[in-house]
């Protein structure tokens, strides 16, 4: 066969300029370390002076330090209160950040976020319906599904919202950002109005739950809750890396992604179902925690570039770490009372996001 290229005439310089994969791998390693520190910090921090370090040391070495009653109390606090909360925080933080990155890739826009475009509102509607109506009209559903009723209702609420949003905002393979944001606002308003009706019907006990829950909180994390939503989130997150290459190609547009051999329709539906499942499960256990899904991927894109093969795992790690830190702040800043974590993430995230927009105004075109 004839020469496949004109390689002889091609000068190829030594270094791989524009290849950020080595840097991305280094950042991911650092993020692993960061997550480990955040976990340790979360296990240690809290309203009680229970020492996770002591508990972990005793557990590792089989030794007993200090008096037995105190140890038993510390163990209870660390194992049954703080550890489930840390695991739930990691799951929810990773889910929100990865879902943000996936939606941004899917809509080809850095502003897409489950919280901003109404997916979380749809999930909330599903969850609130179960909380308020679970004892009456929806009693057969809760009886049938048990603890899965809440996450599943949140999932279908999020799924319905995302599907409607995609249908409205996408015409002939092109997603209009203005339409997406406006449709998202409309859908969120509708979902919140319906949620409002449900809240109006709620009794006093339900109301207290709902108020705290709607601001977002990891409080009340139990092993049972982790058992009900953990598998959903883990499964959804495990599917996401398979979308990375396709999402990269999608940055060139749906048509070009198809030309490159990506099964675009399947990619879109997998992404939408996965995002709805993970966001739905997160909302079901922790309420509306905002800005993680938009700030984390944005920050990482500045650091390691938009390649989803690195962006998705890095988002999971940073999302988990940041949510743990936010939760540590929420638990300690007004101790012994507790701030809803959604307030912490919004107070930190919203100005940060505005700053990014101002700084990158030229690059992040709407």
């Amino acid at each position: 066969m004839v020469d496949q290229s004109i390689a002889g005439t091609v000068k190829v310089t030594g270094v791989s300029e524009g290849d950020r994969s080595a840097r991305a791998r280094a950042v991911i390693l650092l993020l692993c370390l960061g997550l480990a520190i955040a976990v340790l910090l979360s296990l240690t921090a809290g309203a009680s002076d229970a020492s996770a370090v002591n508990v972990i040391r005793d557990w590792l070495l089989g030794t007993v330090s200090g008096d037995a009653a105190r140890n038993a109390r510390d163990e209870l606090i660390v194992y049954d209160i703080r550890l489930p909360r840390v695991i739930l925080g990691m799951l929810v933080g990773a889910a929100l950040a990865v879902c943000g990155a996936v939606m941004q890739g899917l809509f080809r826009n850095p502003l897409a976020d489950p919280g901003l475009i109404g997916v979380s509102a749809g999930s909330s509607l599903g969850a609130v319906a179960i909380i308020v109506l679970g004892g009456t009209i929806l009693a057969p559903v809760t009886a049938l599904l048990g603890t899965l009723a809440l996450p599943l209702a949140a999932f279908f609420g999020g799924l319905a919202t995302t599907l409607v949003l995609y249908q409205v905002a996408t015409r002939r393979g092109q997603t209009s950002v203005a339409t997406m944001l406006l449709a998202g606002i409309a859908l969120a308003a509708l979902a919140m109005a319906l949620t409002g009706i449900l809240i109006f019907m709620a009794d006093d006990g339900q109301l207290r739950d709902l108020t705290f829950w709607s601001l977002g909180s990891l409080g009340g994390a139990t092993w049972a809750k982790i058992a009900s939503v953990g598998p959903i989130i883990v499964l959804a997150l495990a599917a996401m890396p398979f979308l990375a290459r396709g999402l990269n190609a999608l940055a060139l547009g749906e048509a070009t992604a198809g030309h490159l051999g990506i099964p675009v329709q399947r990619l879109k539906y997998t992404a939408i179902v996965g995002v709805s499942a993970a966001v739905g499960a997160s909302v079901a256990v922790s309420g509306g925690i905002g800005f993680v899904g938009i700030v984390v991927p944005h920050l990482l894109r500045l650091l390691i570039g938009p390649d989803n093969r690195y962006l998705l795992p890095a988002s999971a790690l940073l999302g988990a770490s940041l949510l743990l830190l936010a939760d540590a702040v929420a638990r300690t800043i007004v101790a012994p009372a507790e701030l809803p974590i959604g307030i912490v993430t919004a107070i930190a995230g919203a100005p940060f996001f505005l700053w990014i927009l101002l700084r990158k105004r030229g690059v992040v075109d709407l």
Partner: protein
């Protein structure tokens, strides 16, 4: 070999392409020319599997409508008119997306640093580390061509010819790069691949095309070699413009033809 028979495309109830017969053969550049709105791009989108069509398209013996995206992607690469990126990719990262299907067909020695090689071919040596969004329109177009070249680096794979579909590949380029890009296309064809290119510059078309398909109002108006097709009558009929083919401008009016490139 690509054989399109009786291909029609409707968009929103309106017939944009009507009953077009078309062939693209390995070793040849097939140029599609015609006035704006004559259905060239729509036809190419049908040919690349992007739009639904009536009729048949056979790609290397297989029915296009029955093939999976990944099977088609191994056999042809598509350069769109313009590509807007939504995230800050570097030039190298964009070019590397051409390898997402994994069958560039590069030889073992070549496959490392294929993005750099492809960039060097389109005269963008040293641009790998730049951000795509910071480049000019013509440079972006050449980056996309480098990406497309990576996808079908070997013009022949598994004994089957592969194809480049180019939608106005030189429309935003200066004369030097027009010639470079068209030479790349010709080289791809010489080495056993096939090229389908939508072109507006009739001089470049005459210089590089082996066969010309002239489209007019969604239909095929003429087919043949440049010598057969590019006539005064046809240009007046199709482009609605009275021109004389092969006549020099009067007096001392300067004119520059790509055919006159030296070396």
């Amino acid at each position: 070999m690509i054989e399109a028979r009786d291909v029609s495309v409707d968009i929103a109830g309106k017939r944009i392409v009507a009953n077009v017969d078309f062939d693209a053969r390995p070793g040849e550049i097939a140029a599609i020319v015609g006035p704006n709105g004559s259905g060239k791009t729509t036809f190419l989108k049908a040919l690349s599997g992007e739009l639904a069509y009536a009729g048949t398209v056979i790609l290397n013996g297989g029915d296009l409508s029955a093939m999976k995206p990944v099977e088609v992607a191994v056999q042809r690469a598509v350069l769109p008119q313009a590509t807007v990126l939504s995230f800050p990719f570097t030039v190298r990262e964009v070019v590397k997306l051409g390898l997402v299907g994994g069958r560039s067909g590069a030889l073992p020695g070549e496959d490392t640093r294929l993005p750099e090689r492809a960039l060097a071919r389109v005269d963008l040596d040293g641009f790998a580390g730049r951000f795509y969004q910071e480049l000019s329109g013509g440079e972006q177009q050449r980056v996309q061509l480098a990406r497309v070249l990576c996808q079908v680096w070997a013009p022949v794979l598994d004994g089957r010819p592969r194809y480049l579909f180019l939608d106005e590949p030189v429309s935003s380029l200066d004369i030097k790069h027009q010639l470079i890009i068209m030479t790349i296309a010709r080289d791809f064809a010489r080495r056993g691949g096939g090229v389908v290119a939508i072109l507006h510059d009739l001089n470049l078309t005459a210089m590089f095309a082996d066969r010309i398909f002239v489209m007019h109002r969604g239909r095929l108006a003429a087919t043949g070699s440049p010598r057969d097709v590019l006539s005064d009558d046809l240009i007046e009929k199709v482009f609605d413009c009275r021109l004389k083919v092969g006549v020099l401008p009067a007096g001392n009016m300067p004119f520059v033809l790509p055919q006159s490139a030296v070396g």
